[in-house]
């Protein structure tokens, strides 16, 4: 479904993505993991057209996405956004997103899921961080698209809502969609992911199923496996850097 | 006895009112020349409607020459049309044209020469070199005439165009209600004393609307002076009273509403100066009172140059002029009092309608502008405002003594 072909990205002299060639195919849930600065956000942003690759190509369903934008109709993207237009109400924002992306939507499902009924007429500026994230999820996922990209979906969510979200994600997988998640919460990745893509210093270090990763590293859970990878590559200076 | 009385009264009637002599193609007299020959003092010569081409006509009898609505005298050879050489002559209701430019003789449609009590009333003088020329004349009235020179005069040299009304060595004359345009000077007065110019409209003249030279004890009131090179120029004269006139739209470089040069003891009051490049330009003039004038939207309201002493500037309105006042260093003993300055930024805490802090009308910018005229494009810029403010706080270039101690909070007029 998504295919990166020898993708390179330089920020000035900084080589962030070093010739990544990678295919991600659905259905299923893919966790995109890697330490800070490993290039996972850049990779996603290149796919979404926000970052322009220095060389290489990105294909979506067999067609290049570079300098295109209509392919994004088929993508639901949950971004890490903390600031919305302060003076618009939740309802206005929802109808705005519906206007710029026409099609069937299911915002009521999310409003119910997150108990947003009371918040609909409030301005975005007056909402708490958690509520804002709920609105963010609603806006991102209310369209029924074949590809879902979730960038740190758990940020600011209470456990109950997170549980509901997990449930929603697994349901979507059952409906045959491809879901790409980046997260710091390894337990979330472990609970959901079928496949793991692990990026390190601009390279794809691992691409395969969860069980293959655990086997490779000889560990029993994801957290240990990743710590093992980082230790073995000897790039880790201190424990602080293990934060993924 | 009865017959005698009638005879006497008839005689006196003729001596007072004179005979009526008519000229027209079908009248007893068909040419003006013949008719004039038969005129006696006190007669009225009526020229009926029609076009008459005549050579120079010297009027040496005290007669009334009157035209009809379309009586039109045209100069036969471009010479002067009428020369009045006798007192008690009236010329009325006649159109004149055809006096051409002459570099040797100042030919006019009507010349009055060495006599008095002449009336020139309601005539129309079109495209003549000079229109009306008064020479050594007293007690003469020029009233209600329409004088229109040549539109091309604006592009001509001064020698090529003549003045509308030209008076030289006259006394006690009245020039009123005339409409004068497209000449060199609308009204030119040289050595004219004790005379009045009232309610005239002088506009679109290439040089001055009204021009005084070496004239004393005159006044001009309620005139409208617009679109001239310079509105009114008063030079080398004394005791001139200028009131209730309107000076407007005298635009151009070296264009002034009123130009004063070597003037003493004059009074300039209740005039309106609107949108002139320089409303009043003063050079070497002393003891002049500027009272209750309104200066609105001029480039410069008053520009003093050369020594000007003992002038009094009171109760005027300075409204939205680009620059209110420019003074040269020799401005002595002049008083500014009770004027309204639209630029004034002071306050009136005691509520007596007089600002509590003096107004300093001379700004630094006017000096800069004097140095580099191009800086005109920086007017009203924040940088210039800052410079002006800095100068106001601690004056270096602008004189500290030029100030209005009692600036009004509201318009005087």
């Amino acid at each position: 479904m998504i295919s990166f072909q020898n993708l390179n990205k330089y920020y000035k002299k900084n080589h962030v993505i070093k010739g990544i060639t990678l295919s991600i195919n659905g259905p299923g849930i893919v966790a995109l993991l890697g330490p800070n600065g490993s290039g996972k956000t850049t990779l996603l942003k290149s796919f979404l057209g926000m970052v322009l690759p220095s060389s290489g190509d990105i294909l979506f369903n067999g067609e290049s996405v570079l300098k295109q934008y209509s392919y994004r109709k088929q993508i639901s993207y949950l971004s890490q956004i903390s600031r919305f237009p302060d003076n618009l109400t939740v309802n206005e924002l929802i109808s705005f997103m519906k206007e710029i992306k026409p099609g069937k939507t299911r915002e009521h499902q999310f409003i119910q899921m997150f108990n947003l009924q009371q918040e609909l007429e409030k301005k975005m500026g007056s909402l708490s961080g958690g509520t804002r994230q709920k609105v963010n999820i609603t806006l991102a996922l209310m369209h029924d698209d074949p590809l879902i990209i979730l960038d740190e979906p758990s940020t600011g969510l209470d456990p109950l809502s997170l549980k509901e979200l997990k449930k929603f994600i697994t349901e979507e997988r059952e409906r045959g969609k491809l879901i790409v998640i980046t997260t710091h919460i390894l337990s979330l990745a472990e609970a959901l992911a079928d496949d793991i893509i692990f990026l390190l210093e601009g390279h794809v270090f691992f691409n395969g199923s969860m069980s293959a990763l655990l086997n490779d590293q000889g560990e029993i859970n994801l957290e240990n496996a990743i710590a093992h990878i980082l230790k073995s590559t000897k790039k880790v200076k201190d424990a602080e850097d293990i934060k993924i | 006895m009865k017959i005698l009385c009638i005879a006497i009264s008839f005689l006196s009637w003729t001596s007072i009112f004179g005979n009526r002599i008519e000229v027209c193609p079908t009248c007893a007299f068909t040419t003006i020349e013949e008719a004039y020959k038969s005129c006696e003092n006190g007669d009225t010569l009526e020229i009926k409607a029609g076009i008459y081409k005549i050579p120079n006509w010297k009027i040496q009898k005290s007669i009334v020459v009157r035209g009809e609505k379309n009586t039109h005298l045209i100069s036969q050879s471009g010479e002067e049309i009428i020369t009045v050489e006798k007192s008690n002559v009236t010329i009325q209701n006649i159109s004149f044209s055809g006096v051409v430019t002459n570099y040797l003789k100042e030919n006019a449609a009507i010349r009055v020469k060495r006599c008095k009590n002449v009336n020139i009333l309601n005539n129309t003088i079109i495209d003549c070199f000079f229109a009306i020329y008064l020479e050594r004349t007293k007690h003469t009235k020029v009233y209600g005439n329409t004088i229109n020179g040549n539109k091309n005069n604006i592009d001509r040299t001064e020698a090529e165009s003549g003045n509308g009304i030209h008076a030289w060595h006259c006394d006690s004359i009245l020039i009123a209600q005339n409409d004068i345009m497209h000449h060199r000077d609308g009204i030119y007065l040289e050595f004219v004393n004790n005379s009045e110019m009232n309610d005239n409209r002088s506009h679109d003249n290439s040089r001055y609307g009204l021009h005084y030279m070496f004239s004393n004890d005159d006044s001009y009131r309620r005139n409208i002076i617009e679109h001239n090179g310079v509105g009114v120029a008063v030079m080398f004269s004394r005791r001139i009273i200028m009131t209730e006139n309107t000076f407007a739209h005298n635009w151009g470089h070296a264009a002034y509403g009123l130009l004063l040069k070597e003037i003493y003891d004059a009074e300039i009051s209740d005039n309106k100066f609107t949108e002139n490049t320089v409303a009043i330009f003063v050079e070497g003039s002393n003891r002049i009172n500027y009272l209750r004038n309104s200066f609105r939207k001029n480039g410069w309201a008053i520009k003093f140059s050369g020594g000007c002493e003992s002038n009094k500037i009171s109760n005027n309105d300075f409204l939205y002029n680009s620059i209110d006042l420019v003074v040269s260093s020799q401005l002595n003993n002049n008083t500014f009092n009770g004027n309204y300055w639209s630029e004034y930024t002071g306050y009136d805490l005691d509520n007596n309608k007089i600002g509590d802090v003096p107004h300093y009308p001379v700004k630094l910018y006017s000096y800069i502008h004097n140095q580099v005229p191009e800086s005109v494009v920086l007017m009203r810029s924040l940088f210039v405002d800052i410079l002006n403010f800095a100068e106001k706080v601690s004056p270096i270039f602008t004189p500290k003594d030029v100030k209005d101690d009692a600036p009004k909070m509201n318009s005087n007029l």
């Binding site: 237009p85 | 470089h253 680009s322 494009v377 940088f383």
Partner: protein
């Protein structure tokens, strides 16, 4: 683009700052009208306020608005929208809100006072137009600055400097040049200096209405032709238009190449 414009405009007009901005103009105009009771004087005072304030507010609001909307812009970029339509939509919403503030703040009090029937109508219209043009030009510059510099503090400082430069420093340099080279013919220098500063352009257009009498006193042939005739009006309007087109074009170029 129109949808984005609509929402960005909604967002802006509900902003407290836009409210304060129009409120300021409203109060200033009303206070001036009450104080002087003379529409000519009010318009002259407003000219001074407008020439200073509209560029400053335009550039500050523009920069802050962009930085505040940065994340939302990223969200929009993940939608099926072109970058150009996102930026023009956001920009036009801002510009429309700024212009409406001016129209409300200055327009309503003066129209209520009766400027439409007065002799100063053309000056009033010119003033309002120039206020809007300056807002447009400087908010465009703001977008450009914010696009170029991701750091908010840096971007804001540069915006303030750009305003200072065009509002004050530029004219200072201009004046020094004029004084320094006063022995030489300065017409062409003067005209080029005017054309290169949008605030000067707007100011000269207003001067042509307000101070024509003084302008006519200038003797230099080229400049007086420029200031006195319709040619000058056309050149100035055209230059102002370029001041809109050039930043817009640069925004398009920069935004196409930028990584978000």
């Amino acid at each position: 683009m129109l949808k984005i414009l609509k929402y960005s405009f909604y967002e802006m007009i509900r902003s407290r700052w836009i409210f304060i901005y129009s409120g300021f103009y409203l109060i200033a105009s009303m206070a001036l009208l009450l104080l002087s009771n003379d529409i000519s004087k009010v318009l002259i005072s407003l000219t001074n306020i407008i020439i200073i304030l509209t560029p400053l507010i335009g550039i500050l609001f523009g920069t802050i608005y962009y930085y505040n909307s940065k994340e939302f812009i990223q969200l929009l970029m993940a939608q099926a929208l072109s970058r150009w339509s996102i930026f023009t939509g956001m920009y036009l919403g801002l510009a429309a809100a700024l212009c409406i503030s001016i129209l409300i703040g200055i327009g309503i009090p003066l129209i209520a006072y009766g400027v439409l029937g007065s002799a100063e109508l053309s000056l009033f219209l010119l003033l309002i137009t120039m206020a809007c043009v300056l807002s447009i030009v400087f908010s465009l510059m703001a977008f450009l600055i914010a696009l170029k510099f991701d750091d908010k503090v840096k971007g804001l400082s540069i915006s303030i400097f750009v305003w200072l430069f065009f509002a004050i420093i530029y004219d200072g340099i201009f004046l020094l040049l004029l004084l320094g080279f006063k022995e030489y013919p300065l017409d062409k220098l003067t005209i080029s200096m005017i054309v290169l500063n949008p605030i000067d352009l707007a100011r000269i257009l207003i001067l042509m209405k307000l101070d024509m009498s003084a302008m006519m006193g200038y003797t230099g042939a080229v400049l007086s032709k420029f200031l006195g005739k319709n040619i000058g009006m056309i050149i100035i309007s055209f230059s102002l238009l370029l001041w809109v087109i050039l930043p817009l074009w640069t925004i398009r170029r920069v935004s196409m190449k930028k990584d978000f």
